[in-house]
Amino acid sequence: MKQSPADKQAFQKMIPGVITAAGFLGDDDRSPERIIEEDGIFFDELRLDFDAVSDKLEELQHRGEAGLGEPITVGKLLVQSGDARGMLPCPWSDGFFHKNAVSVRPADVPIESCVEGEDMLIYSELSVHMLRVHHFCQGRGSPFRLEPALIKRLLF
């Protein structure tokens, strides 16, 4: 995949300490364009659609907000919508997004037994934007990675 100047600039902002202290790539040693390419293949294989997944994540965020900061049961899931102070710019410079963290996990698994990325999805408004518009799930090891297989298992 040929890297556009916009992508190149965006990828430079994904490293730790530029937009967020942890960055968006985790401990993934793949390039961001490779991450996007390979996750796109996973999405196809799992018959997931970026818009449909983004819609579902937004719906869960809004339903979680009814918990007023505490976790709330939504069907078979436990959803917690939390807020943090401030806003984050998208690395592709196409918007600012309210800082928040939504966690979604199976309601029957205690949080102590949950492993981030294996049993629990964590995402923010920025994560959903990057998924919907840029098809970027974030690198492996990033706490906010939207792992395609976990999306399929938890949400569909």
Binding site: P16, L68, E70, D83, A84, G86, L88, K99, P143
Partner: protein, 373 residues
Amino acid sequence: MNPILVGPLTVAGISTVLALIIAVLDKFLNNYGEVEISINGGEKKLQVKGGSPLLGTLAAENIFVPSACGGRGTCGACKCKIVSDVGPHLPTETPFMSQKEIESNIHLACQVKVRKNLEIELPRELFSIKKYKSHVEKIRDVTHDIKEVLFSLDDGEIEFVSGQYVQLVVPPYGEIKESVQRAYSMSSKPSERKHVELLIRLVPGGIATTYVHKFLKEGQAIELVGPFGEFRVHDTPAAMICVAGGSGMAPFKSIFHSLHETGAFPEKDIWYFFGARTSKDMFYLDELRELQAKWPRFHLVAALSEPSPEENWQGDTGLITDVLDRYLQTTVPKNDKGWEGYLCGSPGMINACVNVMKKNGITEDKIYYDKFA
């Protein structure tokens, strides 16, 4: 030379020369020398080396403007008024600014580079904020995802008002390559000047809370910056209607124990509504009930939003906003002293509680809160 290598080597050579030229020019053009920062019309004058962001420059002079993102321009906390002309607002600043703030020349201190003499305005309270060296004296799990952490101050004592917060300086760890600061309300009493206690809830994906829950150990040295914040008890006879959930307990723990200890504001009745999802998320219940038993003006209402039948919960149930509404309509005495709202929690919880309070006759100017965000 192999002709295939000529092209790449030429490009590499030109790039190196350009980088050197840029480095040399930067050294001369960006050398701003010593500049003066005049604060509050000359009340304080600092001679500093120019070239760095205002936030860090002030911190180096022990003036700590609140910041929760380490100067990346993403928290919007470090607002200050720049009297001198520093040019238009940057695109990184405008998302955090109202039109009025832009017109008043309010900037984010982390986005303003100190290039020349500056005149700025800062709240005077910031002058008393200090950075404290401390060590962790005790860590205790109060629920499965909230830790009570007691810090012992190594160099001096802290003076604060119940309701204020400190910023915990989290050192680099794992993939986090730089120090970050996060704000937490103090749950300790102001009379315990050698200690600061915080309640820290694990936020999935949270840098500071993950550090506290998974890496921080008893005996470890750590820095705190503070005290910050305006949240405090107001000197009126009105009854306090306090609402919190989760680690929003922290400022109220400090307030209640301090009021009980000092006997301050004796006319105030205190109603405390605390919400959690299940009894596993509820904490300090025995301690608060004990306080209620020995302190007639303190009333505790603990509620669970999703208790399971096997928990055998005997207290109130429902979202804390619904419980609050019910009590304000049926149980909390209405008298001439009136009511004041005190809230600590997520913006969603605060907004919902404000609506319930307004519906029950508490005017917005009498609702005080400490939003986590």
